[in-house]
Amino acid sequence: MATTTIDRNAKQFVLTIQDYSLFSGRAFLNLFTPPVYWTDFLIQADVIGWGSLVIVMLVGFFTGGVLALQSSATLESFGATSVTGRFVALSMIRELGAVLTGIMVSGRNASSIASELGSMVVTEQIDAMRALGVDPMRKLVTPRIFAAITMLFFLTIVANGCGILGGAAVTIFMNHQNGTQYFSMAWQGLEFRDILQGLVKPLFFGYIISSVACYSGLRTTGGTEGVGRSTIAAVVWSSVLIIIADYLISQVMLSIFR
């Protein structure tokens, strides 16, 4: 009995991976063939980008601040408080800016996308769209995926900037160190590979967040209770996949720029 259950679950897992891969691949390729719904892209870019801006700025600012706060104590014991700026900038740009922005956008937008599309499924709005001759993949999924990729790229830059400013605020006003030195060290410590790494990640994270959310939403079954399950699955899986993808991308980038 237990073997049968494991067997069935394993098959279901493999089928889900296959289904998700085909789904997300098709949604991505739709951008290169007409019709492309640019108006929907702009609406989603506004919802995802502008709507997430404030929380991303806040998270970035205070993460930079806490990095400066925590690191300064340790760096002080080595007499190296002057490198606080470098530490904060590198941490934010290489890792934290992209990952935290991804997690925040996942929490805010993956849930809303999955619940919106899930509600449309259970109220037959998706079927109605198909019956009216409109492809929901092109109309709903493709614009969300490209809006998420584009906006996550810019939101990560904003988060990085706010993080460096947050670190500067703590360094200058709380640790009473030299601001010029902080920014100078931050700038000097950065290399092309760091910035490239930091800006490649959000492209993947945006794709993961939106494709997982759209997939969860459009595969909703079981009425309103199912919408709740889809929303949870979208947030959990997109967050977990962001962390896994972050590790894999870091590994690849480090091996390229060793």
Binding site: P35, A128, L132, G133
Partner: protein, 280 residues
């Protein structure tokens, strides 16, 4: 109940060029993780014909309706829509065929985020028709269902019956060659149900659009069959005693199989015990 406006007459929909049925289902079966929902279903819808699919709730009527325009795919059998085989057709190639059909869903399935105007004009907006033409055609469609005043409203501010009527307007605006109604009066009060059936009768008698209506309400089915829409009076009037509409016929589902296919007279005189029990 207020009388409804009859819009300018348009030409009756032409039958498929080769004279084939509008819909033809042969040996269709489908199952979802369990026993079959439909088994070996065969029927046709001829040009100008209205077919009423009867059966108790949960018997697979809506599934059958969704098979007709390819929203679901059968496990076996053949479905021809407008003379074209759709059973194994790719999803993107089905959209042009679906655009030629109008479908009214059980609860209306209006898009919550769009106004009534944008819901009704959904297909026209996708086709980038000019705003002026959209407004004019939406007003005409809303006038047909007696809801001109809802033009700027959102679906959330409409009653269940009004949503159903807006859904009918949305299905009609593109002048479909086939109409599919999924329990259009389900859950509605008798007065609103009468309005909906009157609209369906009007579409049948004024435009002669072939249609398939799913229902479990016998009174709706019989009313459609024993009345005709009088354009002069702007309402349904009973046919002479003993007369029925010859283009309105019945199908009945039981245990996944089509157990009846015929006229109202044949339905009332069948010996099938399930049909007799259903009619009782």
């Amino acid at each position: 109940m207020s009388r409804m406006v009859v819009p300018a007459q348009k030409e009756a929909v032409a039958p498929p060029p080769n004279g084939s049925p509008v819909v033809e289902m042969r040996g269709v079966s489908i199952a979802f993780d369990g026993p079959p929902i439909l088994q070996d279903v065969n029927f046709t819808i001829e040009p100008g014909e209205t077919r009423i699919l009867l059966g108790p709730a949960g018997i697979g009527k809506s599934v059958l309706l969704k098979l007709v325009n390819g929203l679901l795919r059968p496990d076996s059998g053949s479905i021809r829509l407008f003379g074209e085989e759709i059973t194994r057709r790719r999803e993107d190639l089905l959209f042009p065929l679906r655009a030629r059909t109008g479908m009214v869903f059980q609860e209306g399935a209006l898009f919550d985020s769009l106004t009534v105007r944008d819901n009704v004009a959904y297909q026209l907006i996708q086709e980038q028709v000019s705003d002026d033409e959209i407004d004019s055609r939406v007003r005409e469609a809303l006038s047909f269902v007696g809801l001109e005043q809802t033009f700027d409203l959102y679906p959330s501010s409409l009653s269940g019956g009004m949503r159903r009527r807006v859904a009918i307007a949305r299905a009609l605006i593109h002048q479909p060659e086939l109409l599919l109604y999924d329990s259009p009066t389900g859950g509605l009060d008798p007065v609103t149900s009468y309005t909906i059936i009157e609209l369906i009768g009007k579409q049948r008698d004024v435009y002669r659009t072939p249609s398939l209506m799913v229902t479990h309400r016998l009174q709706d089915a019989f009313m459609l069959c024993t009345n005709r829409f009088d354009p002069a009076a702007g309402r349904m009037v009973p046919l002479a005693k003993g007369q029925t509409d010859p283009r309105t016929t019945f199908l009945m589902l039981s245990d996944g199989r089509l157990i009846f296919d015929g006229s109202l007279h044949e339905l009332l005189h069948t010996e099938d015990p399930f049909v007799r029990e259903f009619l009782a």
